[in-house]
């Protein structure tokens, strides 16, 4: 089974044999891939019952819970890598969550949709209504994505949290991950903050 491109990009950032915590691990596809191909010691946190059961049936170690309330229970620096894929925009307190991730893991991989993507901007500008895209397909009143941001906004948050961006990859129009210079996200009005559907960041605490 092939991984979603953003997950494949995250998988490339993980070293073999690492201790990995995947927060919001879904049905465990990424963790299972990492266990099988890189021999990682993988653990997950997941809130949805069906996903938790899917992880258990895959033999994965998963704790049913959510990022907002459970990360405080984990001690500092026990994981080589912590992953938060397509989840930060759905948390109640993104800054607190990011701070926990940076505390728990030596490296933190975060992927998120880009609210600055040109189709999102165009949708709002031309239609005057909350935009719908492949990544952001919900109506405003039932979306789990309560804290959307642009990639530039997210870079600001990483600075606020005292994190350095080790790597950044933009997801292009076709969903392919392309390595980018993170400085371009905040330095230029054009560039990935306008053209990327989303991005993946590898962070570490300064």
């Amino acid at each position: 089974m092939s991984l979603r491109p953003d997950l494949a990009a995250i998988a490339d950032m993980i070293r073999p044999g690492a201790r990995v915590l995947d927060v919001g691990c879904g049905d465990g596809a990424l963790l299972e891939h990492l266990v099988a191909t890189k021999g990682v010691d993988g653990r997950g946190i997941e809130i949805a019952q069906a996903n938790v059961n899917a992880c258990v049936a895959r033999g994965l170690a998963v704790v049913q819970g959510d990022a907002d309330s459970d990360l405080g229970d984990y001690p500092a620096q026990v994981f080589d890598a912590v992953i938060l894929s397509q989840t930060i925009q759905a948390t109640e307190k993104p800054k607190a969550v990011l701070n926990h991730l940076l505390r728990i893991g030596r490296r933190t991989a975060v992927s998120l949709p880009n609210f600055g993507y040109w189709k999102v901007r165009l949708g709002l500008l031309s239609g005057g209504r909350m935009p719908h895209t492949r990544e952001l397909s919900y109506d405003w009143w039932d979306t789990p994505n309560i804290h959307l941001c642009t990639l530039a906004d997210f870079v600001d948050l990483t600075r606020e949290c005292g994190a350095a961006i080790v790597e950044a990859h933009a997801l292009d129009d076709k969903g392919k991950a392309v390595r980018i210079n993170p400085a371009k996200l905040t330095d230029s009005y054009m560039g990935p903050n306008l053209f990327a559907r989303g991005a993946i960041f590898l962070l570490k605490k300064n």
Binding site: R43, Q49, V52, V56, A57, R58, L60, V63
Partner: protein, 383 residues
């Protein structure tokens, strides 16, 4: 010595499979410093042990349950207490797994307990029976598992006090188990739970027919006290939501309140029924001993309260299951165990199933629990 088990209660279904009982002449050392000699473990098995003896699953029962997990209970005549979980094609599939369930020591369904004859006096043990702990129960089960020729269990599974036993198995014999499923339990009994148990014990002891625990000698039974204990305990097994849904303020067989103390409300009549049917199958002294064993359970006690120190690098894999409306063993207590195991890098999953049925949910139809256990066991069996 293997024989048919002896039950202190009359059998309503004498044709049902009564299982087996094995008596060990070697003493069973107990946490109290005393020992039991000889001692008997009554048990049931379902399915067949495979040639390399790797498919054995031990199920540990809760406070008032017994070894009749998946077949008719010979004493009550009722179906086994977990028939939707255990059987051919069920989540714990007896077509694949060899399932063992033993009555705990201190119990009253064939394993040595306070209603048995004390070899020292020739009279029923009564309160001369030594206090047993969850670890003592597990020690006795270990002897049974060895007797059956099984070096390593595929899994130990149990809910409530059965979950405590599963945890104790993992702590005492980590190399003898591959996987553990503690359900709706905790690593220690809480003050609130001890308090409820004490209410039950005091109800039994306040019954004049209890006779200082020597009721068998006087041919009496503290049925009223035991029934009250059961009624109080039963309230803790269900959620407020479930009670309200099932009974509300509905009246029992009457159009209006009676202005007397006979049971007006359906919930009263239901509790009376729970109490009355319980005394037909359970021994009052066993109730005292087993509740005490649960009260004493505190897995981390010997490790200065550090639960993660209980488990080492050889810990088996865990799937811990809890229910949102369980206020007797709330999810947070179950999760504590998961975090402790995570801290020693054990393979642990924690499942918190949405249910409004309270503590008893683990005995009821909970499809997500079935799915979790089926998936976990299948993976453990295949790897």
């Amino acid at each position: 010595m293997v024989e048919a088990p002896r039950f202190p209660h009359a059998m309503k279904a004498p044709a049902a499979d009564a299982g087996l009982a094995v008596t060990f002449d070697e003493p069973l050392p107990l946490d109290s410093g005393r020992s039991l000699q000889p001692f008997t473990v009554a048990y049931m098995t379902y399915g067949a042990l495979n040639a390399d003896r790797t498919n054995a699953v031990l199920i540990c029962h809760a406070l008032t349950m017994d070894q009749f997990v998946a077949s008719d209970n010979p004493v009550t005549g009722k179906p086994g207490w977990w028939v939707d979980m255990v059987g051919p094609g069920k989540p714990i599939d007896t077509d694949r797994f060899f399932v063992i369930c033993a009555n705990v020591i201190g119990g009253c369904m064939g394993s040595t307990g306070p209603s048995d004859t004390d070899p020292a006096s020739g009279k029923p043990y009564g309160l001369n029976f030594p206090l047993v702990t969850v670890r003592d129960m597990v020690r006795a089960q270990k002897r049974l598992v060895e007797h059956l020729g099984i070096a390593k269990l595929l899994a130990v599974i149990g809910g409530s006090m059965g979950g405590m036993q599963a945890l104790q198995w993992a702590a005492s014999y980590p190399d003898c188990i591959k996987a553990v499923v503690p359900i709706a339990c905790a690593a220690r009994h809480s003050a609130q739970n001890i308090a409820f148990h004490e209410v039950g014990r005091q109800a039994i002891m306040a019954d004049p027919d209890w006779r200082g625990g020597e009721y068998q000698m006087h041919d009496t039974r503290p049925s009223k006290g035991l029934a009250v204990a059961r009624m109080a305990a039963h309230i803790t097994y269900v959620s407020e939501t479930a009670l309200q849904r099932k009974f509300g303020r509905a009246l029992q067989n009457r159009g209006a309140k009676s202005f007397q103390f006979s049971p007006d409300f359906q919930i009263e009549s239901y509790l009376h029924h729970q109490g009355a049917s319980f005394v037909d199958r359970f021994d009052a002294n066993s109730y005292l001993y087993i509740t005490r064993a649960m009260d004493y359970f505190d897995l981390a006690e010997e490790h200065g309260g550090r639960l993660s120190d209980v488990f080492g690098l050889n810990a088996p894999r865990f799937c811990i299951i809890s229910f949102t409306s369980d206020w007797l063993f709330p999810p947070v207590e179950n999760k504590r165990i998961a975090h402790a195991l995570n801290a020693v890098a054990a393979q642990v999953s924690f499942v918190e199933i949405k249910s409004d049925k309270g503590h008893d949910a683990f005995l009821l139809d909970e499809p997500e629990m079935y799915a979790a256990i089926r998936g976990f066991l299948n993976h453990a069996a295949g790897t």
